[in-house]
Symmetry: C2
């Protein structure tokens, strides 16, 4: 009775699907979590609220799509960091890429890693696995740091997690507005990176050299292709 698989009398329009995700992401980025509603999204896409349900099942489904999009965007940011013969400098630049991506998409970032439940959405174990996979770039970099003889600790996964935790903590408190003038976010990040790198066995002088090298590369690549050097400080005022 069920071998009649007559399909697709009318296909879903992938264009409207992508448009919904884009509009939702823009609404979230520009006006925060409170502004994310099916009606506003539908109005901007000049369709009805039903489009959200036919394409994503519910509002949570749309949020999940945005989260996955956010992960791939972070992965692209990571991929833009070149692999040089100074793997520690590469690691520092990966941290800055993580931080910059988080600041540019602060609301989405809070849902991806901060555990913020948006519109009833909360991460499933699959989502988290998806997010963890993004960190293989960092693990690879840690492996290269170990192989270069800079680190004395030799568990790349654990080292990557240390970097992740520190950067994540910094970004979260920075976005929360907690890091101000005497000890602002930049100073905190420099000092905690410095401490952590020394802690895993690197030589203080080499750490300083790699941090200087990373700063130089960051300046250069900022002028090259990354962002148009405009206000990348996120949604702070």
């Amino acid at each position: 009775m069920c071998n009649t698989v007559k399909v697709s009398p009318r296909k879903l329009d992938p264009g409207t699907r992508a448009a919904l995700v884009d509009i939702a992401a823009r609404l979230l980025a520009e006006h925060g979590a409170e502004a994310l509603s099916t009606r506003k999204i539908a109005a901007e896409a000049s369709t009805s609220t039903m489009a959200v349900y036919t394409h994503f099942g519910s509002m949570s489904g749309l949020v999940r799509e945005m989260v996955h999009e956010g992960f791939t965007r972070l992965e692209r940011q990571f991929a833009q960091v070149r692999r040089t013969d100074d793997p520690v400098a590469d690691m520092i630049l990966l941290g800055y890429a993580y931080r910059q991506n988080a600041k540019a998409n602060s609301h989405l970032y809070a849902v991806m890693f901060g555990g913020q439940s948006l519109a009833g959405f909360s991460l499933t174990e699959d989502d988290r696995q998806y997010g963890r996979y993004t960190l293989v770039t960092v693990v690879d970099c840690a492996t290269r740091c170990i192989e270069s003889g800079r680190f004395s600790q030799n568990d790349p996964l654990l080292i990557a997690h240390q970097m992740w935790i520190a950067t994540h903590g910094l970004v979260n408190l920075e976005l929360g507005g907690y890091l101000i003038d005497p000890v602002d976010a930049d100073r905190c990040y420099d000092s905690i990176l410095n401490g952590l790198l020394i802690g895993v066995g690197d030589d203080p002088a080499l750490v300083a050299a790699s941090m200087a090298a990373s700063t130089k590369r960051r300046r250069r690549e900022a002028g090259a292709d990354s962002e148009p050097a405009g206000a990348v400080t996120g949604t702070r005022r």
Copy 2:
């Protein structure tokens, strides 16, 4: 025309005010952010939704009250950590207190530090200052670490921020469910604390000793007065 300051024909009942905060905190802790509504709170307090507005002005006001309550609760947790002649062990125990408090009140913690906007509430600068003040305990402890000669870095505020950022990052990812078996939260925290303490100048052997001492004290104080040793793992399943 306005020098007639006739006051108080009917006082506010401070009992219902406290009851509303307690009920709201319990609803938030047990059923998450989605379950926090004026109607549910009013029903549990056997009053009307108007009570929320006369006592707190709005739902955000009630959330702000809970946030302040959360800060003082964290301060009390910090105060329970004894000051010994091993200030580094004290510092580690402060970190564990922060972490345990966050796990016991995960939803409230997300609002306090994670930047999660709950029911339209978001932190004001005063709230943040209130939160930063909670860290003076950690800054004092860092000062004692420096004075004892264990640390070579000598900016206690910056050191306290490093500890805060690392612990905050760990707790956030832990609550988000991101830290699992090969590198679970406990292992991550041990390694990042170890790295950070070495990074600020402490001797690796002394760090290991202080971490062992902190573990011993934590075991002892857990059996003494803290929590009833039950499921303190928060709302994870």
